[in-house]
C-alpha cells in the first residue's frame, strides 16, 4: 500500500492510501462511535465513513467531546 499526503487536524500528515475515512480511523486506532469527522469542512455522517474515499490534499478534522463548561 502506498501513502498519500493529507492535512489531519491542521497538520500535514502521510497516511496509507488509497483509503476511506473509516480506514483512516482504523489506521489511527480511533473508535468511529466516539469521533466526529469533517472532510474539507463538511461533516461526514457515520454511516457514510466507509463509502467516502480520501484524496491526496484532503483536509480532515477529527473531533470529540472533552471537559468543558
Amino acid at each position: 500500500m502506498s501513502e498519500m499526503a493529507i492535512v489531519l487536524n491542521g497538520e500535514p500528515r502521510r497516511v496509507p492510501g488509497p483509503a476511506t475515512l473509516l480506514d483512516l480511523l482504523g489506521h489511527l486506532q480511533l473508535d468511529p462511535r466516539t469521533v466526529v469527522v469533517e472532510l474539507n469542512r463538511e461533516i461526514v455522517r457515520r454511516p457514510l465513513l466507509a463509502a467516502t474515499p480520501l484524496s491526496p490534499g484532503d483536509s480532515v478534522e477529527l473531533v470529540h467531546f472533552v471537559g468543558g463548561g
Partner: protein, 267 residues
C-alpha cells in the same frame, strides 16, 4: 421527646427546556478538574442531570485518554455541548453541528465570545448564530450578557433558554447585578439559566432567590479545595434559593418591628 421532620413543602415544578423536563436546577461543567475522579464525584454530589462538554480535536499523539465520555455515561447524564472558544457566529455554528453529529441530542449551549480578556459574549454574533441554528433544528441555550435587550432578542430569535452571566466566566465574583438578572427573568417567557461567575454557595442561593430557573457552573466546583463537597453545598444552595424564592420573602423595612407582643409588659 421524639421529633419527626415534616414533609418538605414543595412548591416547585420541573424545569422544562426545549420540550424536555428536568428535576435538577443545577447544571455543571466538566472542565478544569484536577482529576477525572474529582469530576465524576462532583457531578454525582451536585445531583445535576445536565452536564456540559466541549468539542475539540482528538489528540492524535494519544499520550492520554482525554475524551470525557471515557468517564461519563451518556445514558446517565444529559450531555449539553458548548461552543466555548468560538469568536464568530460561523465558528460557533460549525462547532454546534459537529457536536450534534456526536449523536446525543440537538441542544447546544451557544457561546460566541467577543473579548479575550473578559470572555464577555458578542451579542450580534449570538443573534446571528441563534437564528441559523434554530432554523437548522437546534435547541439553543444562549450564553449572554446580563442585558435585557439582548436577552429579549435572543428569545425572539428562537432560543430555547437564555443564559445571562452572574459575572465573567471563571471569575468567581458572584452575582454582580441582581437587578438585571431579576428583570431578565421577569420579562422573558423562556427559561433563564444563570451561567458563569458563581463562586460559592451563597452566590448560588442569592442567584436562585432572584427567581431564575437554574444555574450552570463549572469553575466553582473544579477549583474548590474539595470539589465534591462544594458540589453538595451548591446543590443545597440552589434548592434553598429556589425554595426561598417560591416561598416569597418578607418586605424589607428601614425600621425594626418587634416580634414579641408589646402589650402585657410588667409595670
Amino acid at each position: 421527646m421524639t421529633t419527626t421532620l415534616a414533609p418538605e413543602p414543595t412548591l416547585d415544578t420541573p424545569l422544562v427546556i426545549g420540550g424536555r423536563s428536568f428535576r435538577s436546577r443545577l447544571m455543571v461543567g466538566t472542565g478544569k478538574y484536577r482529576t477525572n475522579a474529582d469530576m465524576v464525584h462532583s457531578i454525582e454530589a451536585s445531583g445535576a442531570e445536565i452536564v456540559t462538554v466541549a468539542v475539540r480535536r482528538v489528540d492524535l499523539d494519544r499520550t492520554k485518554e482525554e475524551g470525557v465520555l471515557h468517564h461519563l455515561s451518556p445514558e446517565q447524564y444529559f450531555l449539553l455541548a458548548n461552543t466555548a472558544g468560538c469568536y464568530s457566529a460561523d465558528e460557533a455554528i460549525r462547532y454546534a453541528r459537529l457536536a450534534r453529529e456526536a449523536g446525543f441530542n440537538d441542544f447546544v449551549k451557544l457561546e460566541v465570545i467577543g473579548d479575550r480578556e473578559t470572555l464577555l459574549p458578542d451579542g450580534e454574533g449570538l443573534l446571528t448564530a441563534t437564528r441559523e441554528l434554530v432554523r437548522d433544528g437546534f435547541k439553543v441555550l444562549a450564553y449572554t450578557n446580563d442585558d435585557l435587550i439582548t436577552a429579549l432578542r435572543l428569545q425572539d430569535a428562537g432560543a430555547a433558554a437564555v443564559m445571562p452571566l452572574a459575572s465573567p466566566i471563571g471569575s468567581g465574583l458572584g452575582l454582580l447585578n441582581p437587578y438585571s438578572i431579576r428583570t431578565i427573568k421577569r420579562r422573558l417567557s423562556v427559561p433563564v439559566i444563570v451561567d458563569a461567575g458563581v463562586g460559592t454557595a451563597s452566590d448560588a442561593c442569592l442567584t436562585m432567590e432572584q427567581g431564575v430557573d437554574g444555574i450552570l457552573m463549572n469553575t466553582a466546583l473544579a477549583e474548590a479545595r474539595e470539589p465534591a463537597a462544594m458540589a453538595y453545598a451548591m446543590r443545597l444552595a440552589v434548592d434553598a434559593g429556589r425554595a426561598a424564592f417560591l416561598a416569597g420573602r418578607m418586605p424589607r423595612r428601614e425600621v425594626a418591628m418587634p416580634s414579641s407582643p408589646v402589650r402585657g409588659m410588667l409595670e
